[in-house]
Amino acid sequence: MPVNLKDLPENIAHAVKLSRAFMPPTSNATFIPRSLDPRVTAWAKQVIENGRLSTALEEIADSDPDLAD
């Protein structure tokens, strides 16, 4: 859940902004949790890939009015 910095005490929000500016970029790779049950692992891959795919589709729709619902 995105943290709204305006909801935080000012000193904390300020520290967060500074730290975020200096943090290295996060990896794009997603750790795929595995389970002892290979079916659950396969499901996990699907959840993660579908999550990424739906986000990508939303971004495309947002940038192109012709694609919006």
Partner: protein
């Protein structure tokens, strides 16, 4: 993004993630230096009478090898930001929330990464701090 404690990190590294954990992890996983250290220390010590050591003792030999290798070099996909980024936020949070180092680090990391927290034991320090900082905590 989900920040996991030491016990949950173990479950992830040992390929013992349950469906809810997998679902919550879909947007990425991170852990704190403290939790990473606590897990690595417990396993390095070989003590099986403690919670983390007990988890390790309960899995088979190949899984123990897998966990040990993963702890020596945490997978790149599991974020563990360095103290330079986290400590300034911890310091400011400590002015409004009375919590120990481990919990402050977890709360600070959650705020920094816009993440939820996943813990294996109920901790009022974490829960109360999370509430003040508008963070979600999952007890798994």
């Amino acid at each position: 993004m989900l920040i996991v404690d030491d016990q949950i990190l173990f479950r992830l590294l040992a390929n013992q993630a349950e469906p809810l954990l997998i679902q919550l992890s879909a947007n990425g996983i991170a852990t704190t230096s403290s939790w990473y250290f606590r897990l690595a220390k417990a396993i390095a010590s070989g003590r099986t009478n403690r919670a983390l050591g007990g988890l390790f003792a309960d899995v088979d030999s190949p899984t123990r090898d897998l966990v040990q290798q993963s702890l020596k070099r945490l997978p790149d996909e599991i974020l563990c930001p360095e103290p330079k980024a986290v400590v300034p936020v911890m310091a400011e949070i400590s002015t409004v929330i009375n919590a120990n180092f481990i919990n402050l680090e977890a709360l600070a990391l959650a705020v920094l990464l816009d993440a939820d927290l996943a813990v294996s034991t109920d901790s009022p320090l974490i829960t109360n701090g999370a509430q003040l900082l508008h963070l979600n905590v999952h007890l798994l």
